[in-house]
């Protein structure tokens, strides 16, 4: 492997609970602060301490913030997985290991460079406390990598200072000593820096490094949500933790009283019930959860759909079925969310592609939920929610005003000619007017999940029941025109003035959510090899007419998604007039985020052999 400056993947294999996560984040942040675009992915176990964990850092000047599928540099710190980690390094790549213990026979590859650093030995010699020794070993490899990869030690020190603050300043010294041990050893024993290294640029200006649960939490606060209810579940937990954290700082009045209520419910059934109660009362309320939580919430989601109560539900998807792999990623709740609940139910779903979009679409979700008086899903996943992404700084539109939907005020109720009817359709858009409890006696009605007429009155009458169901269908059709449209990229786009229309390629890709970065890199590489692919990224359900047109104008449409059963393709066949034979699935569902190489290879195989695998 010749020089790879600002273009390589570094993978760190450690055991969880040893403090390696903070060391790895420190490493990633240092690269980001040197102005080089970087991707960080954490593959961690569902465990507190002792099981294997990996952190993958892609240094990518070209800005391909996705898994490439190749590892150029492995830091193999975990004896348990050493053989596998050793085997994973690409030919010509590097392996750094703790040479405190001999690994003669295991190091049996002559096509990679081996770098031994006696980390444990040096750290044990320098520090006395047992826990400190474990923690500092990680910082020592950060130091060694700083020398080998040419990272700026000053940037590392500044990051440590920020982490520990004034109060724990002495920890900065200890950490810098540990880093120094690794740094000095590497300098003395190896030809530093290596041809594979980081070079300072300014490509990260105007960007932040943040995870999607944090941005979703920010979105919820900025949208004015006041009630949150939840039951802890990986990988959604940090969303509510972040919401609470932000609100503790920014949503207390002068007396320190909270302008929000967060309730940790006894289970997901109660969490969604609380959200329904708050939504019925008129507050902006939400619950973050994952697939198993959605399963439990189904009865109430059906209730919310039929009684028309706004609610925002975050599904930070993890690997199913059942408990599955709670700390791995997948997009296998697409149909679960879109059709949650018994009876004829369909829900508005939004599919963010990264943490930046998670912020924007969370705000949209609250507006749509109230505009359409219905539960709305933000369908995220573990990769977006828990991994740290480099994204452009979040922007706030000062003209933003929450869309609270059709709510009658006391004054409007006073002047209402005739009786208020909860489920009428005066505007012929399927959206009725609602009233909030406690506002005015004329607005009173009884919300019921049992059959009701357009006046909200209990009914078992065939025509009255059907009238409401038909109007709910119309409401969903109206939503089609209000949800965010797909993002479409043509290889040969329309001319600026619109005089020339876009010329569609023969084949195209349709995808959604966190597949986006992998699809983008794959398209770029395929295009370089002469394969042109237009691209449509779906951002919402119900599907819009733009998507149907896009499918129609392409001969072959690869549907890229991260589940086994081709759920998105199934939804496309059910919800649009798409021709079955045109839609070719590219699937990835092993729990790791989809790599660009997977998409690229699948497309090439299909074009060559007429099938994907």
């Amino acid at each position: 492997m010749s020089g790879r400056v600002n273009d390589f993947t570094l993978k760190l294999a450690t055991a969880n609970g040893t403090g390696s996560a903070s060391a790895n984040t420190l490493l990633m942040k240092a690269i980001f602060r040197m102005g080089v675009p970087v991707m960080g992915k954490n593959y961690f176990p569902s465990n507190i301490q002792g099981l294997p964990t990996w952190y993958e850092i892609r240094v990518t000047e070209s800005g391909d913030l996705t898994r490439s599928g190749v590892v150029h540099f492995m830091v193999a710190m975990n004896a348990e997985t050493f053989a596998k980690d050793h085997a994973e390094v690409a030919a010509g790549g590097y392996l750094l290991y703790d040479s405190s213990w001999p690994r003669g026979r295991e190091l049996n590859r002559d096509d990679i460079h081996i770098i031994g650093v006696p980390l444990a030995e040096m750290v044990n010699h320098h520090f006395t406390d047992a826990r400190t020794r474990i923690l500092m070993k990680n910082i020592a490899y950060v130091g060694a990598l700083a020398a080998l990869l040419d990272l700026d030690m000053q940037v590392i020190e500044d990051s440590l200072k920020e982490t520990f603050g004034e109060k724990k300043a002495r920890l900065v010294d200890a950490n810098m000593q540990a880093a120094g041990l690794g740094y000095t050893y590497a300098k003395q024993h190896y030809d530093c820096p290596l041809p594979i290294r980081v070079k300072r640029t300014n490509l990260t200006d105007g960007h932040i490094v943040i995870d999607g649960n944090t941005t979703a939490a920010l979105g919820a606060m900025f949208a004015g949500a006041t009630v949150g209810a939840w039951y802890p579940i990986t990988p959604s937990t940090s969303l509510m933790d972040a919401f609470k954290g932000f609100c503790e700082t920014y949503r207390r009045n002068d007396k320190g009283e909270r302008e929000f209520t967060v309730i940790q419910a006894e289970d997901e059934l109660a969490a969604i019930g609380m959200v329904m109660g708050a939504g019925w009362m008129g507050a902006r309320a939400f619950t973050p959860t994952s697939g198993p939580g959605i399963s439990l919430m189904n009865e109430f989601i059906s209730f919310g759909y039929y009684t028309e109560i706004p609610a925002v539900i975050f599904d930070v998807q993890r690997v199913g079925p059942s408990t599955g792999m709670p700390t791995r990623t997948q997009q296998a709740d697409l149909t679960e969310c879109a059709y949650a609940g018994h009876g004829d139910t369909r829900h508005i779903c939004l599919y963010p592609a990264d943490p930046g979009e998670a912020f924007e679409l969370t705000i949209r979700a609250f507006d749509l939920a109230e505009h359409f008086q219905t539960p709305v899903f933000v369908v995220s996943d573990l990769d977006i929610g828990m991994n740290e992404w480099m994204v452009p700084e979040l922007k706030w539109d000062e003209n933003y005003r929450p869309d609270r939907g059709k709510v009658l005020s006391a004054g409007e109720l006073e002047q209402l000619p005739g009786r208020f009817g909860r489920y009428l359709d005066p505007d012929q858009d399927g959206i009725p007017f609602r009233t909030l409890p406690g506002v005015h006696p004329a607005g009173a009605f009884f919300t019921r999940g049992s059959g009701h007429s357009k006046h909200g009155i209990y009914t078992e009458d065939a025509a009255e029941y059907q009238e409401v169901m038909d109007r709910l269908g119309r409401k969903f059709d109206t939503a089609r025109r209000h949800v965010p449209p797909p993002q479409i990229e043509y290889v040969h786009p329309a001319s600026k003035g619109g005089r020339k229309r876009a010329r569609p390629t023969k084949c195209a890709i349709v995808s959604l959510g966190s597949c986006d970065v992998a699809v983008r890199e794959a398209r770029k590489k395929l295009l370089a090899g002469g394969t042109e692919l237009d691209y449509c990224r779906i951002r919402a359900f119900p599907f819009t007419s733009e998507l149907e047109d896009f499918i129609r104008e392409h001969e072959t449409v690869f549907v890229v998604e991260q589940n086994r059963d081709a759920q998105l393709r199934g939804m496309l066949l059910m919800e649009t007039d798409a021709d079955r034979d045109r839609l070719v699935s590219i699937l990835h569902y092993n729990g790791l985020p989809i790599a660009s190489s997977h998409v690229e290879e699948a497309v090439l195989t299909y074009l060559d052999k007429g099938q994907v695998a």
Partner: protein, 349 residues
């Protein structure tokens, strides 16, 4: 069941309360329950209590789950919003609604199937959070709408209409609530309106979770000989432990109760309940003694009624959360959102 609107008949002679409303202004739709159902008497008691307390009808939120009892919120306070949740999940709806708007009065109506079987967890956790609400369990020991199965509150040895005998021990709402730390625990009987109205008034004024377990016989499936939730059985074993008087803040407490037997308890809004013991060995402010007393009488098959335990100093959901005093229905958008976003993002650079 269909909704039937009651004809509006105005009797000029009807007395008005402090808001100028007659008791008719607190009524709802026509009941579709069976003639003689205990639940209808409870509805009447609720109407009476709200009228007597001068509660603005539209400032009440009525909520229920699924079952015969859960139909009743349609039969009172037609000027108030009501919500029929899914089976057993009214406590979570009430918790969320109350979290969003603490300014309203919350009345939850549930049954023994709704609270003690499918919704047992939510019932327990609403008590644990001390949600400020009146929580009525209209307890008849039987599933009415599905035609006569035993519920979790059915006593050992009670006989179903089809002659089946229940051999599993009951889940007893009063003892359950006491052990969970409920701050207002009462039991009553749908056939004792005087006691029930007073208890409902005290419960509505109590800040925190006020549970009233009301024995409410099911005339269709559980009012026969051999049933322990029938009118006849309840009357025979009825044992008021304590007499409760409710006194409005403005009224003067008359000192006519014999010393030692009368116990005034001041409620948060300034009103007072005066408890007069019928049994001297019952202390409604001592949880452990109340528990022991109730257990003793339960063994003797007596149905002890009255305000059995009360704790006015308990902190409710909002005092624990230190929520602002007003409702959270309005979105809380601040003028300085761009500055806040800027400040937050510094951490992620």
């Amino acid at each position: 069941m269909t909704f039937m609107k009651k004809p509006a008949v105005h009797h000029s002679a009807l007395p008005v309360n402090g808001l100028g409303y007659t008791v008719r202004d607190y009524e709802g739709g026509m009941s579709t329950l069976c003639a003689g159902c205990g639940h209808d008497s409870i509805t009447a008691a609720l109407i009476q209590a709200c009228w007597e307390l001068d509660i603005e009808p539209h400032r009440v939120a009525k909520m229920s789950g699924i079952g015969c009892s859960s139909k009743t919120p349609a039969y009172f306070l037609s000027q108030a919003h009501g919500i029929n949740a899914v089976h057993g999940r009214m406590p979570s709806i009430a918790t969320g609604a109350n979290a969003a708007n603490r300014e309203l009065t919350y009345i939850g109506v549930s049954g023994d199937g709704d609270s003690l079987s499918i919704g047992f967890g939510q019932f327990a956790h609403a008590i644990r959070r001390n949600v400020d609400m009146l929580y009525m369990i209209e307890n008849n020991g039987v599933y009415g709408l599905t035609k006569g199965q035993f519920s979790a509150s059915a006593d050992i040895g009670t006989r179903a209409k089809k002659c089946e005998i229940n051999e599993q021990p009951p889940i007893e709402p009063v003892l359950t609530a006491l052990s969970l730390g409920c701050t207002f625990v009462a039991r009553s009987f749908s056939g004792d309106k005087e006691q029930l109205v007073t208890l409902i008034k005290a419960a509505l004024r109590h800040r925190g979770f006020a549970m009233i377990d009301v024995i409410s016989p099911c005339v269709a499936f559980n009012d026969h000989e051999g049933s322990t939730k029938s009118y006849a059985h309840t009357r025979a074993f009825y044992h008021p432990a304590i007499h409760t008087d409710f006194i409005e803040p403005k009224a003067e407490i008359r000192a006519e109760y014999a010393k030692g037997a009368a116990m005034p308890v001041k409620l948060h809004d300034g009103s007072t309940i005066v408890l007069r013991k019928v049994d001297v060995d019952h202390d409604p402010t001592d949880r452990a003694r109340a528990f022991a007393y109730l257990e003793r009488h339960r063994e003797a098959h007596e149905i002890v009624t009255g305000l059995l335990y009360v704790e006015e100093e308990g902190r409710d959901l909002h005092s624990l959360n230190q929520t602002v005093p007003e409702s959270l229905v309005a979105t809380r958008l601040h003028d300085d959102q761009p500055a806040i976003l800027e400040q937050v993002q510094k951490r992620y650079r």
